[in-house]
């Protein structure tokens, strides 16, 4: 057992929290207790969220924005109430919140809607540390329009290399992660947004890994767009969010088209509603919106600053515990400064798949591979890595179980 000085994260009552997540008391392989260290892929959901979904289905289910009947009214209230709740969670106004199916769709929405606004000579600027979801859509935008894709590189320790800045007057959009899903690095989004705005570019922040894990206020953040997924923040699958500054949302043409986003439809021509409806065709996923609102409520109840502090404490513990194992190399910064709770590492002489197999056998659910950030792995000189990610329900004992399992893997493979 590793013992470290970081066991005193008093910010959250983790025992009480764990009681809200039935899956955490599940036994996995060999009857071992589950140590779920893969919340970066998807978080577990508390019963409050599952109850909110079920309550909607069993009491109020109906198509929002469509029915003139009581159930339709109630569904509309739940849906728009969820929008208000998410707006408040981010310091935005409800008219700036578009519900999508996930972060991926949110980013694609902006990339497609900008098709008419960029062309040859224009530049789209991303970073080498992006998740594929904030990379491939921009490659595709450039392919469609003839614009050029450029990127910030990363430093050897995984930080964003901002000097010299690649922002020029040709830059039309800067898309960057607000927290790396591999190294946990938190790039200086506000500072980059300031420079981008001076150059006349708009800024999209990928908040898939930040909104669930740290207090995010859109005014402070400085980005024009912010995309994230419900399922990574204790919410259900099937719902994500695109925040966009009102004036920008108004300037964008629709992306997905269909019912409930139109003003007048004729065979020859259609006119569209203002945002957010313009971007939400189809019968709305009200149950998921209710679940997401409950998730935001749950997180607000804990306090996002406490969530971040708890994760920082687990991260410090993990960095310390892994660092002292010979042959383990942490990808990216190995202190908690300027980074969140994602710890990726390689174990010299053991392929991540094999590390992961041993972890799994011992009940530790971590992730192995390139974590949808292949260029970042290439930049850091590794093919793949093992990654542990933390959330409100994780314990220091689980961090110890991780370190113990890594040690066991070394023994097993004789390295």
């Amino acid at each position: 057992m590793t013992t470290t000085a970081h066991l005193n994260s008093a910010s959250l009552d983790v025992d009480a929290i764990r009681a809200d997540f039935p899956i955490l008391s599940r036994a996995v392989r060999n009857g071992r207790p589950l140590a779920y260290l893969d919340s970066g892929a998807t978080s577990q959901k508390p019963r409050q969220v599952l109850d909110a979904e079920r309550e909607f289905y069993e009491r109020h289910n109906s198509a929002a924005h469509r029915g003139t009947h009581l159930l339709g009214e109630e569904a509309t209230e739940v849906y728009e109430g969820a929008r208000e709740r998410i707006a408040a969670f981010l310091g935005a106004t409800p008219g700036e919140i578009v519900f999508t199916k996930n972060a991926t769709e949110a980013i694609n929405l902006v990339a497609y809607a900008m098709t008419g606004s960029v062309g040859p000579g224009d530049e789209i600027l991303i970073t080498e540390m992006e998740h594929h979801a904030n990379l491939v859509p921009w490659q595709q935008l450039c392919q469609r329009t003839g614009a050029t894709l450029r990127w910030f590189k990363v430093t050897p320790d995984g930080r964003l290399d901002t000097d010299p800045s690649p922002i020029t007057e040709r830059t039309k959009l800067v898309a960057l992660t607000h927290q790396s899903n591999v190294t946990g690095v938190i790039p200086p989004v506000a500072e980059i947004a300031r420079l981008a705005h001076e150059a006349g570019a708009v800024v999209l922040a990928d908040g898939a890994q930040s909104v669930p894990h740290q207090p995010v206020d859109v005014a402070t953040l400085g980005a024009d767009f912010l995309a994230f997924s419900g399922h990574k923040m204790l919410g259900p699958y099937g719902i994500g969010v695109l925040y966009g500054k009102r004036a920008l949302l108004e300037s964008l043409p629709p992306f997905l088209t269909g019912g409930s986003m139109i003003e007048v439809v004729r065979m020859e021509e259609t006119t569209f509603l203002p945002p957010p409806q313009r971007f939400e065709p189809g019968v709305p996923p009200v149950a998921q919106a209710a679940g997401l609102a409950a998730a935001a409520g749950y997180l607000s109840g804990l306090g996002m600053a406490n969530v971040a502090a708890h994760e920082e404490s687990l991260t410090a513990h993990a960095l310390d515990a892994l660092r002292e194992i010979p042959g383990v190399r942490i990808l990216g910064p190995d202190t908690t400064s300027g980074r969140g709770g994602s710890v990726a590492f390689e174990v010299h002489g053991i392929h991540p798949h094999d590390v992961g197999q041993v972890l799994d056998e011992l009940g530790v659910a971590a992730r192995t591979g390139h974590h949808c950030a292949w260029p970042l792995h290439r930049a850091l000189g590794v093919q793949a890595s093992t990654r542990a990610t933390f959330y409100v329900y994780n314990t220091h004992a689980e961090v110890d179980a991780l370190a113990d399992a890594v040690r066991y893997a070394k023994k097993f493979f004789g390295v």
């Binding site: 924005h65 469509r66 003139t68 339709g72 009214e73 509309t76 209230e77 003003e263 007048v264 509603l273």
Partner: protein
């Protein structure tokens, strides 16, 4: 049954015998508004009279397709604004919007009955969010047309 509270006699009267309906000349601005959910539409014209000081609503004429609530509301609206100075008419409009929001925002100041007159009959509509748009359609068109007519003044 709450039907009677929504469909007050005043509303049904205006619906069956709408006042000021039909498009008339002359006018300073014309607008066309639509309720995308049901396809209700209104084409509305505003004629302002230059009185030296503040302009006065000389005429409001309209053509519309829609439910009893939207038809009656257009009729009541034109009754209320025709003859009033624009700013005073706008005050009535604002009071009507507040009335429609009174269910969603119960803590706001109660709507002014003296200002709203017959339009108070629409209080029951505020309880049905899906119908509020019906009641507001003509008012929004009138506000829009008046704003355009005023802009035209300064050209």
């Amino acid at each position: 049954m709450q039907l009677e509270s929504m469909y007050q006699e005043i509303i049904l009267d205006h619906y069956r015998n709408p006042h000021h309906k039909g498009l008339r000349e002359p006018f300073d601005a014309e607008v066309h508004h639509v309720n995308p959910v049901c396809g209700d539409e209104v084409t509305l014209r505003v004629a302002l009279k230059d009185t030296g000081g503040e302009p006065v609503v000389e005429d409001v004429s309209y053509d519309s397709l829609g439910c009893s609530i939207s038809q009656a509301s257009a009729s009541v609206m034109s009754d209320l604004v025709i003859g009033k100075p624009v700013s005073e008419a706008m005050t009535v409009g604002d009071a009507f919007v507040s009335l429609m929001r009174s269910n969603a925002a119960p803590d706001a100041a109660p709507p002014d009955e003296d200002v709203l007159e017959d339009a108070m009959a629409f209080a029951g509509v505020a309880k049905y969010p899906a119908r509020i748009k019906c009641a507001l359609l003509a008012w929004m068109a009138w506000k829009d047309a008046t704003a355009r007519a005023m802009e035209g003044d300064h050209d």
